[in-house]
């Protein structure tokens, strides 16, 4: 049993739970509770229209599952079981609290009339889809800054503890608690749309959710070698799988999921034993996770069949081209160049051009690459990678003095020790060659 659920049991010991009834190690229950969480919390949110009530109801349902399932076995539809039990438990609580009131306010029990049997039936796919999308969308409220959106999604949808999220964002538990409380307060005030969304609204929600998932992934990906932060990548992939199962025909969702899987497949090769970043060209490709690569490539193939290309698909295709190459030397640079050109057209940005210049250098030499990025100096004047790349091109062309100045500039802009260390290797080489 995970610490999370174990603590939950202890905390609720006052509710007279007979611990002897709980099997010592029901890990299967744990994984079902975690996997069911988005569906259950989002359905309970639809019933109660209040985040805290929905969460408490979910917690209560989990407690009862931990007590009940070891003896009675796993229900046929665990999510439906948890929704029903959570809903009834919360309604009992509401009734007890308002004993003096003759009737529970109608809006609190809008679905009380449902027969139990029909509940399971009503949880058809489209309902479930809108519930989960709503829950994710609430976390992506435009009033919330991106970091709060992510924190809220991790807390509410993924069910990570405040401490876990705090560790991932490298802030104190108290600061994260406050951040989440504030975010919740803000969305409580905002209008949360509970009616079933129309097609336009739905696709806008989806876009917001997809962006949030990608931000979440990048939080983890750029974190370097910190396992607590890197786990954000796994969480992002888990959420993407969830969205993909609900919306199986959206090529950009397939593309995003593929992109994240292909990037994450290199996790074990990206850092050496000292935690230093290892460049793509130096990575031990045997450490790449072929399971993730195959799944990512399969998803990308599905996406491309739709003939509706988008930035996520193109970036996934770039990652897939790297993943397919047996060695760095075998990389199909021509294909990657074409993909970057497509990305530049879809999403013109100096960073994309900078990335393309690295490919241009392989195909057409440092001179051509340099010409490509010289106009970008103004817009990328604070960007580590710009001066790292330009320095490398200048160095190749024998313009050592300019290269050294760019490398110095890059070091001053480095955001991780690994970045700085990498540039220092170039500088050491210049010094050595000069001797």
């Amino acid at each position: 049993m995970s610490l999370k659920h174990e603590r939950m049991l202890q905390r609720n010991a006052s509710k007279r739970i007979d611990m002897s009834q709980v099997i010592q190690d029901p890990t299967w229950i744990d994984s079902i509770l975690t996997a069911s969480r988005p569906q259950v919390v989002s359905a309970l949110l639809r019933y109660f229209r209040d985040m805290d009530t929905a969460e408490e109801a979910y917690q209560e349902a989990c407690l009862r599952a931990l007590r009940n399932w070891p003896q009675n076995g796993q229900p046929r539809d665990p999510a439906a079981w948890l929704i029903l039990v959570g809903r009834n438990a919360a309604l009992d609580g509401t009734r007890r609290k308002s004993r003096d009131v003759a009737l529970t306010p109608d809006e609190m029990i809008s679905d009380l009339g449902d027969a139990e049997a029909s509940l399971v039936e009503r949880l058809d796919d489209s309902q479930y889809r809108d519930d989960v999308l709503r829950l994710l969308f609430i976390c992506c409220h435009p009033d919330l800054p991106a970091t709060q959106q992510i924190a809220l999604a991790l807390r509410i949808v993924s069910g990570l503890s405040v401490a876990q999220i705090a560790r991932a964002f490298i802030v104190s538990d108290a600061a994260m608690e406050q951040r989440i409380t504030r975010a919740k307060a803000r969305i409580a005030k905002a209008d949360v749309p509970f009616e079933t969304p129309g097609p336009v609204e739905r696709s806008e929600r989806l876009a917001a959710v997809v962006t949030m998932i990608y931000l979440l992934f990048n939080e983890g990906y750029t974190a370097g070698n910190d396992p607590a932060r890197a786990s954000l990548c796994d969480e992002a992939i888990r959420l993407a799988r969830l969205i993909l199962r609900l919306y199986p025909t959206e090529p950009e969702i397939m593309g995003l999921t593929a992109l994240m899987m292909l990037q994450q497949s290199r996790l074990r090769a990206r850092f050496d034993a000292n935690g230093e970043a290892v460049l793509l060209e130096d990575q031990d490709r045997n450490l790449w996770n072929t399971k993730l690569i195959n799944e990512g490539v399969a998803l990308l193939e599905k996406a491309m069949r739709h003939d509706r290309p988008g930035p996520y698909q193109v970036q996934a295709a770039i990652a897939a081209t790297h993943a397919r190459a047996g060695s760095f030397e075998e990389t199909d640079w021509l294909a990657i160049d074409g993909l970057y050109a497509a990305l530049e057209r879809m999403q013109p940005s100096p960073v994309v051009t900078l990335n393309r210049s690295v490919v241009a250098e392989k195909l057409r030499g440092a001179e051509a690459a340099l010409a490509m990025i010289e106009p970008l100096e103004k817009s990328l004047s604070g960007y580590f990678h710009y001066f790292g790349a330009r320095g490398a091109f200048l160095l190749q062309l024998g313009r050592t003095v300019e290269a050294r100045s760019d490398f110095d500039r890059a070091i001053s802009l480095a955001t991780t020790p690994a970045q700085a260390a990498h540039i220092r290797q170039h500088l050491d080489r210049i010094t050595k060659d000069a001797e």
Partner: protein, 129 residues
């Protein structure tokens, strides 16, 4: 008699297993596999990628993203084919569909392929009907 054992589980749970958890299950399964190989009982075995990677062909022209999800039809059989990509797999499925138009074909990439390991593996068709 040849039998097929079909394995069902919740893929969101299984594909969220950590590498350690996955390895532990595979190690336990491998013990069973090895016993079956020794006894000459194990034919080819497959582990499939999740249903999110599935594509379904209903009739020669209707390609649907996602797995076969109806409950009206039952699983009647399966093929393992070796082709370079999804488009080629779809082409094969289209041929099958043209030959057997009422059947639906779900195309799912194979995650793990354990080859036939029996010394006495049949070289000819084995029919049970």
């Amino acid at each position: 008699m040849l039998y097929t054992l079909l394995c069902y589980n919740k893929e969101d749970v299984v594909w969220s297993w950590s590498k350690e958890e996955d390895d532990a299950v595979m190690a336990r399964l491998n013990v069973v596999h090895e016993k079956l190989v020794k006894e000459g009982k194990l034919g080819p075995a497959l582990r499939l990628l999740p249903t999110t990677t599935a594509t379904t062909l209903r009739g020669p022209d209707m390609v649907i993203d996602g797995p076969f999800a109806e409950t009206k039809e039952q699983l009647l059989g399966f093929y393992v084919i070796d082709v370079p990509d999804l488009d080629s797999a779809l082409a094969v499925a289209r041929d099958l569909s043209a030959a057997n138009p009422t059947s639906i074909y779900e195309i799912r990439p194979v995650a793990l392929y354990v080859p036939e390991a029996r010394e006495n593996a049949p070289k000819e068709r084995v029919k049970a009907y």
